[in-house]
Structures are given as structure tokens and as C-alpha cells.
Amino acid sequence: MSHTVLLVDDDDRVLNGLVRALRGQPFRIYTAKSGDEAKWVLKSQMVDVVVADEKMPGLSGSELLAWVADHRPEVVRIVLTGHATVETAIRAINRGAVFHFFTKPCNEFELSVVIHKALEQKDRLRQEQGQLAH
């Protein structure tokens, strides 16, 4: 079963860089340039992990992830931010219950490791739930 990761950032070059750096990874990548576009993708596609930039015009990363927590709780949520402050981290964690929190510049290797961990966790959960159902 192939996994899907949604990357959200208002900066094209950032998205392109991420897509290129994650190219060899065993998951499909979707991209969105805004919180609204991300919502649209999440409503119409199966997505396993969403990685969102905090600072975007309109919906911020943490606001988007709060929506995801409410409407798509099964999607694992990761936030990227250039303003690493304790308040931002706490806000992101409290609002959106993020799985992980990265500061920019984010190392693509660490990001893929965390995505893999998230996917493993998801798969394990699904397995356990499957077993419970029996």
C-alpha cells in the first residue's frame, strides 16, 4: 500500500526543493500552496501525512493543522517554522496536536526519517485496530 504525503508552503521554491529532496522516498507527494488549497486536497484525497509551513498568508500552518486535527484526525501532522519560539511550538502543539515540529532550515534526511516514523506509527495503529475489530 503506498502512502501519501502532502506538503504545504506558500513559497514555490521551498516546495520544489522539498519535492526534489524527497524524490527517492517510497511515498507519493502532493503539494499545496496555501492552507485553503491544502484543505481542498485533504477533502478529496487520501493523505497519510501533512507537512505544513507555519508562516503563510491567510491560514497559518498551525491553523491548518488545527482544522486537520478536527476534520481528518487520522492524518499525521508536522509543522515547519522559521520562527522557532517556545510560544509557536506550544501553540502548534496545543492547537493542532502536531506529531513533530521542525525549524527552518529543515534537513531533508531528518524530515524523511520523521515521516517514516509517522507512517510506521499509523500502520501499526491501523493493524491494532484491525485486530481489535475481530
Binding site: D11, R13, V14, G17, H83, P105, E108
Partner: protein, 439 residues
């Protein structure tokens, strides 16, 4: 402490008389027998009143009076001339020479005493005023020094506040350049693999016959590599990385221009460049909340000013505009607000307008927005010095003007005017006049 009276008369018995009388009135008395001695003692003893005989050989009383009144250290001392009866001319000349009062000889004691008392009162009020003046002067000097310090502190604070935003502006390209390089590294490995397969094919095909295994090998390697993808993405990765590094370069240069301002030299400045620097340096503040447009008049001459300071003025205006636009976001239709910066020449002036469609400035605070430390921001979000500093730079240091037009709910326009001399043959590097501050 009793007041000190300097008595000057060439007649010894009159001096003795005066001394005895005045000492009995409770004054301290110093005596001089001629004009030269009088001037010496006036300087060394600093009396509160000078009683001065007009008729003296050598330096006469009128001349002594003139010299006393011409000396800035002595001119505050009231001078009472002792004149002979009937000598109206002496009286007139004496008063014109600066004397404060006169007594005719022979004098009635009571009258002399009263005049001395009056003179002492004058001296006291003068001293009181002089002390207040000194204090005011000291306060003004202190205030100027504090303004300078405040300006410097604010400059540092601006740099500090901007630093976080600038760091983000630099971290972002840093991230995707790094990702692109990682991609290029892998892409090269793929291309390298392909080239090796080509090599192997060529190696084994030297005789002219093509080795089919090598051909298959090349074909499958080519398939793995996804050459079309690489052909498209490698140039893009290189181009976008270059663009990112150019962006970093521009920001760093702008910051350098902005903060390297301790050279207080006025030079002729390209207004467009100063505005662009300001926008670069605070991009993180307006990027997500407003569309910024610029409209530079091509006929605008170079403006004489301190370049970093002009950037600072624009910076503060743009920061204010960004904040106003951000504040207005909840009530506005979706989408970013707008900030427009326009320059145009006027006779004798260069005008810069910074217009936003933010919240506008409420009536009740309009008179205070340039006040030091006045702010509508929350604690920790800025100390309200931006407009004060902008005002000081434009008005005090450049002789220009800054005002605004505003409407609550519609937006605000700040209008800055800087003087531009008609003659374009101004010297380069005119030193800014009137800069005060610690040496």
C-alpha cells in the same frame, strides 16, 4: 551672607565715609581708589553692587561702567554712579553707558541706602534668572544627548526586531538550496551511472559490433534514471538555487546599507534604492499581509540625505502600514491588503508617499502619533519610537516635513518631503549640519 559692595572713588575720605556707612547697614565693603583698581576688584571680588564715582582721573566712572557692562562675567552687577549735583550730562552719559542708577553728591544716607537696597534686589533677581537659565541650558543639552542615545537605542532595537524576520528570510533559501544540492547530488549519481553504462557499451563495441548485453544494460539504466525528469529538473534546481542565493545577497546588502550609518555623511541618494532597501529589510513584515507596489518618478533627482536614515524612515512607515493592514484583515474581504509607495518631484522638494488601506488612525490619537513612546501596540511588540524617529530624521536632521492623511476604516497616507536644492552642483559628502551628541 551679607551682600558685597564695591565702592570706587578717588577721594579717600569719601571712600572711608561710604565704607563706614555701608558696613553699618550690614554690607561687606571693598574699596577701589581708581578705575583700574575698580575693574580688577570687580573681577576678583564679584561684588553684588558697584558704587562708582564719575569724576576720577585716569579711567573715569563712565568708562569703568562701560567696561563692566561689556564684560559678560560682570555685566549683571548693578552700577550706581556717584555724580556731582547739576551734572545732567554725566547722568545721561552714565545711564547710556549702562549704569543702573545714580546718586548725586552730597548724598542723603537714607537715599543711598534705599538705592543700594534696590540694586541688591535687581542683582538677586538677575541671579535667580541666570540660575534658571543655566539649569534650562543643562536640561536641553541633556535632552539632546538623550535623544541621540534614544535614536541609537532604537536603531539597535530595530535591527534586533528585524533580525528574527531577516533570519527567516535567509533560512528559507538556505533550506531549498540545500535540498536542491542534495537532489543534484543524487541526480549526478544517476547521470554518472548512465555515462558509465555508455562507456561500457562503447568499450565493448570498439570492433564495430554492438554488444547486446551492454545495450540492454544501457537501456535499463536509462529507464531507471528517468532522464526526461532529470533534464527538466536539474536546470530548474540550479536556477532556483541561484535565485535563492541572490535573494540572500540582496537582503544582506540592504541590511549593511541600513545599519552602517555611523558615517554621518550626507550624500546624494537614489530614493528608489533607499525605498527598495527598506522593503527588502522588512519583507517578512509585509509579505503575508499586503501587496506592495512602488511607483518611482523617473524625473526625481538624487536627494541629499544620510542614506541609511532615509531607509530607516521608509522602513518605519512601511512597518506601520503593515501593522495597520494586518489589523484591518478581519474586517476586510479575503486577500491581502495593499501598500503603495510613490515618489515624485516638486519644486524644491522630493516627495515620498506611503499609502495603505489599513485601519486608519482614530481621531483621538492623531495628535500623538509622533510622540516618543506613544504606541497602540501590546507590550513587547515595539516601543513606539518608529514615527518619532522618522519625524526627527526628516524634520530635524534633513529640514523636511512629514504629515499624514487618514480615514478610519479606509487607510492612511504618510507624506514625507525632503528639500532638494535647485542647484545640482552641490558638493558630494556635505557633512550634516547641527548634529549634536557625544563626541
Amino acid at each position: 551672607m551679607s551682600e558685597r559692595i564695591l565702592c570706587v572713588d578717588d577721594m579717600a575720605d569719601i571712600l572711608a565715609l561710604l565704607q563706614r556707612f555701608l558696613e553699618s547697614e550690614g554690607y561687606e565693603v571693598v574699596c577701589a581708589a581708581n578705575g583700574a583698581q575698580a575693574l580688577d576688584l570687580a573681577s576678583s571680588e564679584r561684588p553684588d553692587v558697584i558704587l562708582l564715582d564719575v569724576m576720577m582721573p585716569g579711567l573715569d566712572g563712565i568708562e569703568v561702567c562701560r567696561r563692566v557692562k561689556a564684560d559678560p562675567h560682570l555685566r549683571s552687577i548693578p552700577v550706581i554712579l556717584l555724580t556731582a549735583r547739576g551734572d545732567d550730562q554725566d547722568v545721561i552719559r552714565g545711564l547710556d553707558a549702562g549704569a543702573d542708577d545714580y546718586v548725586t553728591k552730597p548724598f542723603k544716607r537714607e537715599i543711598l541706602a534705599a538705592r543700594v537696597r534696590s540694586a541688591v534686589r535687581v542683582k538677586r533677581s538677575y541671579d535667580a534668572v541666570a540660575e534658571i537659565n543655566d539649569r534650562l541650558r543643562a536640561e536641553i543639552a541633556e535632552r539632546k544627548r538623550m535623544e541621540f542615545e534614544l535614536a541609537r537605542a532604537h536603531r539597535l532595537e530595530s535591527v534586533g526586531q528585524l533580525a528574527a524576520g531577516i533570519a527567516h528570510e535567509i533560512n528559507t533559501p538556505s533550506q531549498y538550496v540545500s535540498h536542491n544540492i542534495r537532489f543534484l547530488e543524487e541526480a549526478f549519481a544517476s547521470v554518472d551511472g548512465l555515462l558509465r553504462a555508455v562507456d561500457r557499451l562503447l568499450e565493448t563495441s570498439k570492433e564495430g559490433a554492438v554488444d547486446r548485453r551492454r545495450l540492454e544494460d544501457l537501456r535499463s539504466t536509462a529507464g531507471e534514471v528517468d532522464a526526461p525528469y532529470l533534464a527538466r529538473e536539474i536546470p530548474r534546481a540550479i536556477r532556483e538555487s541561484r535565485e535563492g542565493l541572490e535573494h540572500v545577497e540582496r537582503i544582506v546588502r540592504a541590511m549593511k546599507d541600513f545599519s552602517g550609518r555611523d558615517a554621518q555623511q550626507k550624500t546624494r541618494v537614489d530614493l528608489d534604492r533607499a525605498v527598495e532597501n527598506a522593503l527588502l529589510v522588512c519583507r517578512h513584515a509585509w509579505k503575508d499581509v499586503a501587496e506592495v507596489t512602488t511607483d518611482f518618478d523617473p524625473n526625481l533627482a538624487l536627494v541629499p540625505c544620510v542614506p541609511g536614515e532615509l531607509t530607516e524612515v521608509i522602513l518605519h512607515l512601511v512597518l506601520n502600514a503593515s501593522q495597520a493592514v494586518a489589523d484591518a484583515a478581519p474586517g476586510r474581504a479575503p486577500g491581502k491588503g495593499s501598500i503603495a509607495i510613490r515618489t515624485r518631484p516638486l519644486p524644491g522638494w522630493a516627495e515620498i508617499r506611503v499609502e495603505d488601506n489599513g485601519t486608519g488612525i482614530p481621531e483621538e490619537i492623531r495628535s500623538r502619533i509622533f510622540d516618543p513612546f506613544f504606541t497602540t501596540r501590546e507590550v513587547g511588540q515595539g516601543i513606539g519610537q518608529g514615527l518619532t524617529i522618522a519625524h526627527a530624521i526628516v524634520v530635524t536632521r534633513h529640514g523636511g516635513s512629514i504629515r499624514f492623511e487618514t480615514e478610519v476604516g479606509r487607510g492612511t497616507t504618510f507624506i514625507v518631503r525632503l528639500p532638494v536644492p535647485d542647484s545640482l552642483a552641490c558638493e558630494q559628502n556635505d557633512v550634516v549640519a547641527g548634529v549634536s551628541g557625544p563626541a
